[in-house]
Amino acid sequence: MSDLDATAMREENPSTVSETMVIVRSRDVRNRVIEAVLPPLVALLVSIVVGDLLILAVGQSPGAVYRLMLEGTWGNAYGFGQVLYKTTTLICTGLAVSVGLRAGLFNIGAEGQLAAGGMAAALVGLALPVGTTAVIAVPLGVLGALAAGGAVGFVPGALRANWGAHEVITTIMLNFIVLAFLSWLVSAHLRVPETLHTPPIHAGALPRLSVLWNGFHGSAANGSILIELCAALILGWYLFRTRGGFELRAVGLQPDAAENAGINVGRTWIRALTLSGALAGLGGINFVLGYERYYEEGFATGAGFLGIAVALVGRSNPLGVVLAALFFATLSQGGLAINALVPKQMVDALQGVVILAMAASVPEVRRLLAQARGKR
């Protein structure tokens, strides 16, 4: 199963296309644009068709449902705020899975890492004196989240590097272990009676976006999205501009060649999964420091798994991940908006359809383009 990983991501564009001074023929540019744009369009089309069928099955009009979905997500500031909030967590888990894939590893443990990060942020916040300014509290919380997620990610990395234990299994198992451990922490030490969450943090935290613009009023969107976007930028820079990223990707693409080049493959795996875990952990601040200001059991549910989808649809590219996160967040929020007309369960199915259509159309479009190129 080592190929869960290695094949999961083939680098499409050899590093840093932007810096090439190669004279790129306009035909290539056009093809590259087609290759980037067509699959999502096909996926959208297919999911609309499937969506129509599901909507018609409950006797509603697809047009009305889609309009409602758009209105409830991008059509108003509050809905959009909710989309942004959901995007934020998905960016993190998506980036986390991406880093793993780039190193040829499949991190299925983002959910546990996310939860651990959230818990750490909460613990840091609770440990700080009441009223600590956000300027101090937030960076400390961020560090805590990174460290906790990284620690959870480190374990499968070390297990893989030193004992060859396959990360797909160990990350799945660690999910259960970490969630159980966090549940014990909450129930044995931090619980607020009759709830599933820790006491609220009274140190400074991240402001909601409604501080910036009133229109977001009441939505959960908060300042952590800026931190996550920075994380995406830094990750892109790291992967494609630095020596560390160069080595990490080499290990992911061809571990034997990397080893031959003097790169310590095991250490790179550990580094990649630790980084992956840290990124997932960072996602915890969205809920804990930005939204509810406490750790609540179950806040991470599903975000790890959807993060895999985000990474895959985003082609493990930080920019792609951000866009994919936005898309999946829109679907998720859209489900709530259309609930009155169609069971929201429809969007669960549509998520699968989108990914499937996307996965199938990417190679197909590439094949058709190659065919067309040959005809000329």
Binding site: N76, Y78, K86, P193, E194, T195, H217, I338, K344
Partner: protein, 324 residues
């Protein structure tokens, strides 16, 4: 302002919004109870009830907010998980009535209860009282010194059921033991009937004759085990007799439907008021089922004894613990 995404604009009449807990409609438990309450309000009071099923965490607040912005006469959240969202929204919309089923009371640093906002009714059920009764009933009927309990997620709310049940068993049978097991530590634990069945089978095989479950859909596996082993199980929240006729000794029912209907009526009559409202045995908020279906399973003497205990609890002669 939040958008009027899903709810048609309303003019006049009685509009009520209800947001479900994760299990959603069809959980054969308290979400269904709330739904029934809403339906009865539609029939009896002519109310228009809007239901929302949220997805993940932030959807809960979003759902409540959607309803509050629509100027519903009453906005309800079903489940303790809504506590903080309701508190925040009630402060933000002081003119809207809110109600929280299973609302969890927060304590201040001195350990005193922080009262909910005045426009928020905190509806609490004394599950431990009902659990106490079914515990006593189980011990009296069980013909075994071992009694079983299957919980869903291992959390304080479910511990309350366990504590009452355990105390009830011990009250009538001091040398009995209670085997208490939980299906898991994640929300999945409320919908893993396969696990529930195995837990119950192993309890039955170790000599338990009656199992009380408080585990959502997981409990459906407990009923399957009771059928298979020809033993008894006790339902929770709603009358679950139909899940395994002949094998459901009784159910510890929470009157969610009655309470929901009651709150909607108060909203219409103008008698709605915020604050903590507890529904125990005395208020008929909790209870146990004794009807034509299970009468054959419960000897008259036992029924009389349980009724006696019930009177004792209502009168305050018996104090039921709410924690393990």
């Amino acid at each position: 302002h939040p958008a009027p995404a899903a709810i048609a604009a309303t003019t006049g009449g009685l509009d009520v919004g209800i947001v479900f807990d994760v299990g959603g409609r069809g959980d054969k438990s308290f979400n269904d109870g709330a739904y029934r309450g809403g339906e009865r309000a539609e029939q009896a009071l002519g109310a228009r009830v809007h239901f929302i099923e949220p997805g993940e965490g932030s959807d809960r607040e979003a759902g409540l907010r959607l309803l509050a912005a629509e100027h519903m006469q009453l906005v309800m959240g079903v489940g303790f998980i809504f506590t903080d969202d309701l508190t925040a929204l009630a402060k933000e919309y002081p003119d809207t009535r809110f109600a929280g089923v299973d609302y969890a009371l927060a304590l201040d640093s001195a350990g005193k209860v922080i009262p909910p906002p005045p426009n928020l009714a905190a509806l609490k059920f004394r599950e431990e009282q009902g659990s106490f009764l079914v515990g006593a009933l189980a011990a009296l009927v069980g013909k075994s010194k071992k009694l079983g309990f299957v919980g869903g997620m291992d959390i304080p709310l479910i511990h309350k059921f366990e504590a009452g049940y355990r105390a009830g068993v011990m009250y009538v049978c001091p040398d009995c033991t209670v085997i208490a097991q939980y299906a898991g530590v994640t929300p999945e634990a409320f919908r893993n009937p396969g696990r529930g069945k195995e837990l119950a089978l192993s309890q039955y095989q170790s000599g338990v004759n009656v199992i009380f479950h408080a585990s959502g859909s997981t409990g459906l596996g407990v009923f399957e085990a009771a059928r298979q082993m020809d033993r008894l199980a006790i339902g929770v929240d709603a009358d679950q007799y139909a899940e395994a006729p002949g094998h459901v000794l009784t159910s510890m029912v929470k009157g969610v439907d009655a309470v929901v209907l009651d709150q909607i009526r108060r909203a219409r009559d103008g008698s709605f008021h915020g604050g903590v409202q507890e529904y125990g045995l005395a208020e008929h908020g909790v209870g146990y089922i004794y009807d034509e279906h299970n009468r054959a399973l419960i000897p008259d003497s036992v029924h009389a004894r349980v009724e006696e205990i019930r009177a004792g609890i209502i009168a305050g002669r018996i104090v039921v613990p709410a924690v393990r």
